[in-house]
């Protein structure tokens, strides 16, 4: 799963060079940092204090999303979550009671994007969960989400609140 440290370092140097080269332009430049698209959050139903943010992350050199945050005026906390299907041989200690066929949510430390690949944060898979929403997420609203990558560092993207995926 994990690349060797040397490869990782080399990639980090290349990524760093790419980052500096693209200084002065925005995220949509062709630098080697992650390319983040289709950032959206679902309208949150009344009576719930939870929200979910989705996006697609592509990376030429590979990277790892390690942390997420939003302004406290939006939600108290943000976490990376993954939905998984519980199976009989699951090693998840906390959800081992869930029979196979049930979907369970678990917090994950990071999301790895392989070099040249992309990962979709999408319903039924990964999502950024917002906890303790200050106010419901209303259709059309926009807010910033700050993503921390192990190589590219912090990148802030804007999520649009929608009913369904763009």
């Amino acid at each position: 799963m994990k690349k060797s440290k040397i490869t990782g370092l080399l990639l980090a140097v290349v990524a760093g060079a790419g980052f500096f080269a693209s200084c002065g332009s925005d995220d949509s430049s062709s630098g080697s940092g992650p390319e983040i698209t289709k950032v959206w959050a679902r309208t949150s139903p009344m009576e719930t204090s939870l929200g979910a943010v989705y996006m697609s992350i592509a990376s030429k050199d590979g990277d790892e999303l390690t942390d997420v945050s939003v302004d406290p005026s939006i939600a108290a906390m943000a976490q990376i979550h993954e939905m998984v299907m519980a199976t009989a041989d699951t090693s998840m200690s906390m959800t081992s009671d869930a029979p196979s066929g049930e979907m369970v949510m678990q917090e994950v430390d990071s999301v790895v994007i392989d070099a040249g690949g992309s990962v979709d944060l999408k319903p039924g898979s990964y999502h950024i969960m917002l906890l303790e929403l200050v106010a419901p997420l209303e259709l059309g609203a926009k807010f910033d989400v700050t993503l921390t990558f192990s190589k590219a560092g912090k990148i802030t993207v804007t999520a649009e609140v929608r009913d369904e995926a763009p």
């Binding site: 009344m46 929200g51 869930a98 066929g101 979907m103 949510m105 999502h127 969960m129 009913d163 369904e164």
Partner: protein, 203 residues
């Protein structure tokens, strides 16, 4: 001989394509849930005055979309319920013939008030179902071959596992199609249109 076989194959092929125009799962022997009852706590919308017990049947000539979920569910439940909402909107006037029912699997946290507020985000004609006991919930789940698990860890953090299928039921309590998680609103619209046409042509 080939002249006979070929048309027969074509007939078979066309039957098949007819059946497969439904996008959800259609069982050869549909689940029968018309005898299942759950405590109804609906306090808003069209069915605010409904009785205390809900039977798993659509209104005469209509359809019912049934889901087992919980309101502290940030991903699966709102994804499916939002798709149902869009699908019923896509039906135009016929959308009024599709009611929504959700039974919470999180009996402790989902109070009737919370459940009503949550469901009113997705439909004007919904049934908020809150079993009065775990046994009542499980009996209902069993009829749908559904299941759920609520666990609390040492820190008090609650984790919920649940099967995430939505069920479309007719007025006899027959489950006409099952939508596993991930079916989008277009597929739901497709299925609901076909089923409503079938119902109106049968009447």
């Amino acid at each position: 001989m080939a002249g006979v076989v070929l048309p027969m194959l074509m007939i078979l092929a066309s039957c098949r394509s007819d059946a497969s125009s439904m996008r959800g799962i259609v069982r050869d022997e549909p689940l029968q849930v018309g005898a299942v009852t759950l405590t109804d706590v609906t306090a808003e919308g069209e069915f605010a005055d409904h009785g205390d017990l809900f039977t798993m049947r659509a209104q005469a000539g209509e359809l019912l979309v049934m889901y087992f979920g919980y309101t502290n569910c940030p991903d699966l439940c709102p994804t499916t319920l939002a798709a149902v909402r869009t699908a019923t909107k896509n039906l135009g006037d016929d959308g009024a013939k599709v009611d929504l029912a959700m039974a919470t699997v999180d009996l402790e946290r989902d109070t009737p008030e919370v459940l009503n507020g949550y469901l009113s985000s997705f439909s004007d004609h919904f049934h908020a179902l809150h079993a009065s006991s775990q046994d009542e919930l499980e009996a209902a789940e069993n009829a749908f071959l559904a299941s759920s698990t609520v666990t609390k860890d040492a820190t008090g953090k609650i984790e919920v596992g649940h099967s995430a299928t939505a069920y479309v039921i007719d007025d006899t309590g027959s489950v006409l199609v099952e939508w596993p998680f991930g079916i989008d609103n277009k597929a739901m619209t497709n299925d609901l249109k076909i089923l409503l046409e079938q119902i109106s042509s049968n009447n």
